[in-house]
Amino acid sequence: MGSELGIDPIAIDVGRLLQHSAASLYSHLVTRPTGRAVRLAIEAQLSATSRTSLSMIDLSEVAVIDFSCADEVVAKLLMRFLQEDRPGDALFVFRGLDVGHHEPIEAVLERQTLLMVTEGSDGQCGLLGTRSDEEQHAWSVLESRGRIDTTEVASVFPSEIHRHALDELVLRRVAFASPDAGGYHALSTLLRDAHA
């Protein structure tokens, strides 16, 4: 399905990038220049595709991430691909977040009013960052269904406020709406389809 929708899955291991980027030999995601080097390396990987990319950003090999790096690697990366002049279309799912990662990442997301999708160790996806109750509801329904066809939207979300929230999730790039095939897609479903 991911391929049919014109989406390329890209796996990015931040631990490996950290050791092979300009910040070689460093094992922790600390200091702003290190974060900037890792973000630029991620952007370089994403620029290799002309289609929409679905990037699985893996932080499982990163023991420490400080606030400066969370701002560079997470907040600035998300903001870059929300801008109108973004270098390409990219969707992100972050995995491998442990308890020590949550606070710095959540802090920078709240500061910039950003939202992201995370995949837990049990494979379940969730949202991290600032969102309204309506956005949380719309995302949870979409996540549980995997996909909502255009014709189903009104029956799944009888309330206008939730339909609006669903569109907001697409704009915030934590859900995908296919311009060609139509319908709304949970990022977790796109990931599973891509690896099927």
Binding site: H28, T31, V64, D66, F67, S68, D71, G100, R111
Partner: protein, 297 residues
């Protein structure tokens, strides 16, 4: 030669007299007389280095540091890496390498901070050593090593990104049985940069008009998270450090220029803001984390 007497105990409060004397000194060579020094913590060590560096800059020659030839202070300073850090700051008699060997009890020796690589090295070292001290000595959960490392990373980056001058960091645990009846960990960072007022002046002084000074600059950074960078992602470091230190019921203070600002817990007696102090050109950050008591910390 001007003689500056060091007190018997040198910490972030008693070092005020040291800062005042060096601040008031002229261009003559200084002898730092530490023969009566019996106890020194990371704040005392990094402030001693900073004031020594100021004296060196003014006189154009290394100031002399005299320490008692007997007693534990000299060997303790050796274990904390003081004499390596002091090589370019003081003319002093370092103990033989044999006497300064064995640093297994040291949380973080005095480490110069001049590059981002130094910050990585600090985090690497602390990751290896802090676990046992934080859990066994302070009673913090095992997961506290990561936020502790993040605190160190952010305070060290403050030296590189904002001070634009050399600095030092050190950390060690102590038994504050008389003062507090508990163990504490003390983190200290000092730099010889341009201070908070200097760092923020171009971007923010106009809005404060004639109120602008060291105290308002500290308030702007410490309370409001302002930085000299227009990037809205900046300025989170100190805010998040304060939040974590509060969570551990700790003390954090920043001394810069003629002022000091602090988040003061119930167990410590100090004003949240002090002005009119002797000039300390750079900045000095002091963090004291107490042992957990019951479920309170």
């Amino acid at each position: 030669m001007r003689v500056v007497d060091l007190p018997a105990s040198l910490d972030f409060r008693t070092s005020e007299a040291l800062i005042a004397e060096v601040s008031a000194s002229g261009t003559e060579k200084i002898l730092f007389d530490g023969r009566h020094l019996r106890w020194v913590d990371p704040n005392g060590m990094v402030i001693l280095l900073a004031t020594g560096a100021v004296a060196r800059e003014r006189s154009g020659e290394l100031p002399r540091l005299e320490l008692a030839t007997v007693g534990e202070v000299r060997s303790y300073l050796g274990r904390m890496g003081f004499f390596e850090a002091a090589t370019e700051v003081f003319d002093t008699d370092a103990p033989s390498p044999r006497r300064s060997a064995g640093r297994s009890d040291v949380l973080l020796e005095i480490t110069p901070i001049t590059t981002n690589g130094d910050v990585h090295e600090v985090v690497d070292r602390v990751q290896k050593r802090a676990g046992a001290i934080l859990s066994k000595t302070l009673g913090y959960p095992p997961t506290s090593v990561v936020p502790f490392s993040v605190i160190l990373s952010e305070v060290c980056q403050n030296v590189i990104e904002h001070a634009e001058g050399p600095g030092w960091v050190a950390a060690q645990s102590y038994n504050w049985s008389k003062r507090l009846g508990r163990q504490v960990v003390i983190i200290s960072v000092a730099d010889l940069g341009r201070g908070f007022r200097g760092s923020l002046a171009d971007e923010h002084s106009a809005r404060f008009s004639d109120r602008w000074g060291d105290a308002t600059a500290l308030e702007a950074a410490f309370i409001h998270g302002l930085t000299r960078f227009p990037d809205s992602g900046r300025g989170q470091g100190i805010q998040q450090i304060r939040k974590q230190v509060r969570r551990w019921d700790g003390l954090i203070s920043i001394r810069s220029g003629t002022a000091r600002i602090a988040d003061v817990p119930d167990w410590f007696d100090a004003p949240p803001m002090e002005g009119g102090l002797s000039d300390f050109a750079g900045a000095q950050i002091n963090i004291i984390l107490p042992e957990r008591v019951g479920h309170g910390v």
